[in-house]
Symmetry: C2
Subunit: 334 residues, 2 copies
């Protein structure tokens, strides 16, 4: 055989191998996760429950995965992004409410006086959430949120808040759905606030977003039906409220759950309580450089009891500094 | 050409035509519906919203269809089947509650004394629903319902209650799903009561069943998490409560809705209030022979204001006596 032909053959063979390798690499699941215990545990779990005929097989219809949002799917510092939205929105609404210039906690919020605002406590914050989230139709509120998402920037990263969603967790959502899972958000955040952008950002449709709710009322306005958001808390979707809302909205026990704080403990317990193979995971904020580092003593996203239970029961705890190649999509992978 | 060969060719050609005709017949949608205005309106609507590039096209993700249950998907006479379940269940639980022999309304219910029971009014009924539906875990309640569904028979038809689902409406659910719709139940019935059998009977999974709810509580029993059903009404999913729960659970406005009573009016109004092509339908009980005939003056399933609005706005009103070939799957088609 002619040498140049043999060379060309080898060359093509190598090219083919390279193409296969490239294709395989492109399809590697969870590319923003480093090789490590968390990635390994996820892959093993998904392999086990999707292997037809295997001992741990779960039918697609029962592959329910639930995720906390704040601190689990996106950042939550220096405060919950929904509170930042409320502060921003307060300024948008202020011209219609001249009385806020004199009245607390609105005055402090408008002036950026964090100390006075903090002193007003949970009650003060609820007032600000109330006036910015209610006394309008569901349609109007949704549009307000969409507008904010398009324009507001995070003070530290100068990026839209939806860019501060965790690339590894978005990949995980995508990976689970690719394996027949139905992915849900179960969050203490207000449900319509999240629904306004969850489809675009996470690929999670409105009916798979569960959260805290305000009471809404069916009303006729000029002969047209609307749903009015009333300044009355309907349901606080946090802590023991999470398994309750999971049952109310989904009616099945999840087999996979991810959280990041003590507010997710009961959701994780409830997920692990059913029969068969199950997965509980915690995102641990260990990366002060690329994100933030906080856990047991944090005001926001306190992770204490849930961390103890995770450690004692062998749940997966993600060390984001070590295990995530990048935090945000705009990070350079490392 | 030999005559016998030509004959054989003709024979095969006819056979082929026949096969095509049979196949086409087998695929005819809504076979239990007579040709008529309602069937026509349904087919035209679905054609319009599924025709890509057409002026009325609706993306699959927005094809949300909502159905009332009692009187719309199954019968509701001589009383809501869930109340019959409660009466039956009362007898199952009675040995653990000897005090019921003396105490009203339990005594009347156990003795089948309908007059005394009726005199106890809505409050009396709520007590019976309360003791038969609550103070147990979600798991225990679901099993009780499943057991009842398997064994109980309707007094008139001597059939399981789930056999008294309307064949034409089950076909409609199937037909809509085949055209990319997501089908939901939105009912005044208690949600876990329906979820126990809706998947088997309607092909509707638990997360697409919305209904009246009791408050549930996350509890630890012997170190295992359970959800306890408390004797406290959480949400009454009827009348104006229906659009509110549709928004809360689905977060989108349906484009297709079917009901049968005034309790469905706001759900139909809300469905019709959005932009684009929409469908509102009412099942009208006009068939005393095969089912029941009742509307404006009925205690159960009163259809009065909603009928007026349907007539004035041109919504679809199904005359079941005329338009349904059969009511139940066990009926002979006519």
């Amino acid at each position: 055989m002619n040498l140049s032909i043999r060379f060309a053959q080898r060359c093509y063979a190598m090219l083919a191998l390279l193409l296969i390798a490239c294709a395989a690499h492109a399809q590697t699941p969870l590319p923003s996760w480093n090789e490590g215990p968390s990635r390994q545990a996820i892959l093993e779990f998904v392999d086990a429950v999707t292997k037809e005929g295997g001992p741990d097989y779960v039918a697609p219809v029962d592959r329910i995965a639930v995720f906390d949002n704040d601190g689990t799917l996106w950042s939550e510092q220096p405060m919950y992004f929904e509170l930042i939205f409320a502060m921003d929105e307060l300024k948008v609404l202020a011209p219609q409410h001249p009385e806020w210039k004199q009245e607390q906690p609105y005055k402090a919020a408008l002036e950026g006086d964090r100390q006075t605002l903090a002193a007003s406590g949970k009650e003060g914050l609820l007032k600000i959430v109330g006036v910015t989230h209610t006394n309008m139709t569901t349609q109007v509120f949704s549009n307000e949120v969409k507008q904010w998402v398009k324009t507001a920037k995070h003070p530290r990263f100068k990026q839209p808040y939806t860019s501060l969603t965790f690339a590894p967790m978005r990949e995980l959502l995508y990976y689970l759905r690719g394996n027949g899972f139905k992915t849900y958000i179960v969050s203490g955040g207000e449900v319509e606030f999240m629904r306004a952008w969850a489809q675009d950002v996470y690929g999670i449709p409105p009916e798979q977003v569960i959260g805290t709710t305000f009471t809404t009322e069916f009303q006729m306005q000029d002969g047209k039906p609307v749903l009015m958001r009333l300044p009355k808390l309907d349901y606080n979707d946090d802590g023991p409220g999470k398994p309750v809302s999971i049952n109310k909205f989904i009616g099945r026990q999840p087999i996979f759950a991810f959280g990041n704080s003590d507010g997710d403990l009961q959701m994780l317990q409830w997920t692990m309580a059913g029969p068969g193979k199950r997965f509980a995971g915690l995102v641990r904020h260990t990366d002060a450089k690329r994100e933030w580092a906080y856990d047991r003593d944090s005001q926001i996203g306190k992770l204490d009891k849930a961390l103890d239970e995770a450690n004692s029961k062998g749940w997966v705890v993600v060390d984001m500094a070590r295990e995530w190649k990048r935090i945000y999509a705009f990070d350079m992978p490392r």
